[in-house]
């Protein structure tokens, strides 16, 4: 492993200064479960790791009934799934962070890290997209927000510029009669990278008989996680039925452009998009019915 320097930044501005100075030779260290492996396996070279776990804003969870959730980007998964507010409002996010890599990895890995690593197969990103999450970024020229669906631009690449870093993820409060769901397909029962991942959120009418709106997002079937816009829109105003859910699944399949690699074949992935979209939508619908 190459030699590098390490700094535990104490403030956002300190982190920004270092990132601006070093450019792509510095990298933010959160849980380290991706970064350390990449440097060790020589898939990434850097001179400096900037540990952000001591910066308060990046590690806090705050939730209230008007603003929704502000999730510090460096918060490890286990603090997310043990948080009662997040469990009740965003079960789909809990689905995702409970299955990233095993209990030991969840002791360190963070949603911010998952976003910034920008793997096409990241588990948390489809879950965030369907929750209308936004990414709060701070940089030398100030702060800005990017929708989670626009955060990843290519495998391993994000929309952040030099000197910028992700401080928190914001999720609006859930609407009434809504819920959300994430699932993935893997060859074993745990510890694998998603072959396909699908997140779904639904808002139902008062009687839980029809969709008011829905969001569907896909992982591991394109260079970045995808928001399935057409599939999502076609559910709006429709009565809940297997037929309409199938239509949405087919529309989701239509935008998937998977590759064949050592984790799955393109045909398999295309097929699984249909299967998982149906299961994710049904899962979200059932959650609405069960919780209210």
């Amino acid at each position: 492993m190459q030699a590098f320097e390490y700094v535990a930044a104490k403030s956002i501005s300190e982190a920004i200064d270092l990132l601006s100075e070093k450019g792509d030779q510095a990298r933010v260290l959160s849980g380290g479960t991706d970064l350390i492996v990449q440097v060790r396996e020589k898939r990434r070279s850097l001179e400096l790791m900037i540990d952000v776990k001591q910066i308060p804003e990046v590690n806090e969870i705050s939730y209230n009934a008007t603003d929704g959730l502000v999730l510090g980007a460096s918060t490890p998964c286990y603090r997310i799934y043990n948080n009662t507010d997040i469990k009740s409002a965003y079960p789909g996010l809990i689905d995702a962070v409970s299955i990233i890599g095993g209990i030991q990895v969840q002791g360190r890995a963070s949603v911010g890290g998952n976003l910034c690593n920008a793997s096409p197969a990241a588990d948390s990103i489809p879950a965030l997209i369907v929750l209308n999450a936004t990414c709060a970024i701070v940089g030398p020229s100030g702060t800005r927000e990017i929708a989670a669906k626009d955060f990843c631009t290519a495998p391993g690449q994000t929309a952040m510029g030099k000197g910028e870093f992700l401080t928190s993820i914001k999720i609006p409060i859930p609407e009434k009669n809504s819920s959300n769901f994430y699932l993935r397909f893997i060859p074993r029962n745990e510890m694998d990278i998603a072959v396909v991942g699908v997140g779904a959120s639904v808002v139902l009418d008062e009687n839980h008989k029809s969709f008011v709106s829905a969001h569907i997002a896909l992982g591991a079937v394109a260079p970045t996680p995808l928001y399935a816009e057409e599939a999502s829109n076609l559910l709006a105003g429709q009565g809940i039925s297997d037929e309409i859910i199938n239509q949405a699944a087919e529309a989701a399949q239509a935008i998937a452009r998977p590759i064949s690699d050592m984790r799955g074949t393109a045909n398999q992935r295309k097929h699984l998009v249909g299967v998982l979209t149906r299961r994710a939508l049904n899962g979200a619908v059932n959650r609405v019915k069960e919780t209210e």
Binding site: M1, Q2, A3, F4, E5, Y6, A8, L29, G31, G32, T33, I36, V37, V39, R40, E41, M49, D51, K53, P76, Y78, G101, G102, I103, Q104, V105, Q106, G107, R108, N189, E190, M191
Partner: protein
């Protein structure tokens, strides 16, 4: 050679200091600098759990933590689990149930199981298997490991009941 960082931390209840390069993982520090060789390297990329230690209030793969990140933290390793009173019930049950064959994964499993039972004193078999999915064993097929954890939970709960 790159300059080393001085780190102060607490391991198994004792204050510890060491020097390490930033690129040295906590696993390397434990084994090569502090000679706490109970945590093992099986894969060095977070997929086998043989290096599991407790960092703060969670179990982690020490191969995915830098030694320098241990600054100011509390760490528990396999070496800290038995006390002067004797073996921990989990250790005892692993022995009674023959839940080890070559034993290389055993420290990781014991650290992980202890964390599970502290978090959930009455886990189902499914809970146990899910929690331990991050610890690979190639010898036992996990059957006796799960039996040992179930029995350890019973034993620890009985103790609590007795003392309660």
């Amino acid at each position: 050679m790159p300059k080393k960082t001085h780190v102060q931390t607490e391991i198994n209840g004792e204050g510890v200091e060491f020097l390490c390069e930033p690129r040295q993982s906590l696993l390397e520090v434990l084994r090569d600098e502090l000679h706490l060789t109970g945590a093992k390297e099986g894969c060095n990329n977070g997929n086998c759990g043989a290096c599991t230690v407790r960092l703060g209030d969670r179990i982690v793969n020490s191969c995915l933590v830098l030694g320098v990140e241990a600054e100011g933290q509390k760490i528990e390793t396999i070496e800290g689990i038995a006390t002067s009173e004797g073996l921990h019930p989990i250790q005892q049950k692993f022995l009674e149930h023959a839940a080890l064959q070559c034993g290389i994964c055993t420290p990781g499993f014991i650290v992980s199981s202890k964390a599970l039972l502290e978090q959930n004193p009455t886990p189902s078999e499914e809970d146990i298997r899910f929690w331990l999915a991050g610890n690979l064993c190639r010898c036992t097929g996990y059957h006796k490991i799960v039996e040992a954890v179930v029995d350890a939970a019973k034993s620890m709960n009985a103790e609590v009941a007795d003392n309660g």
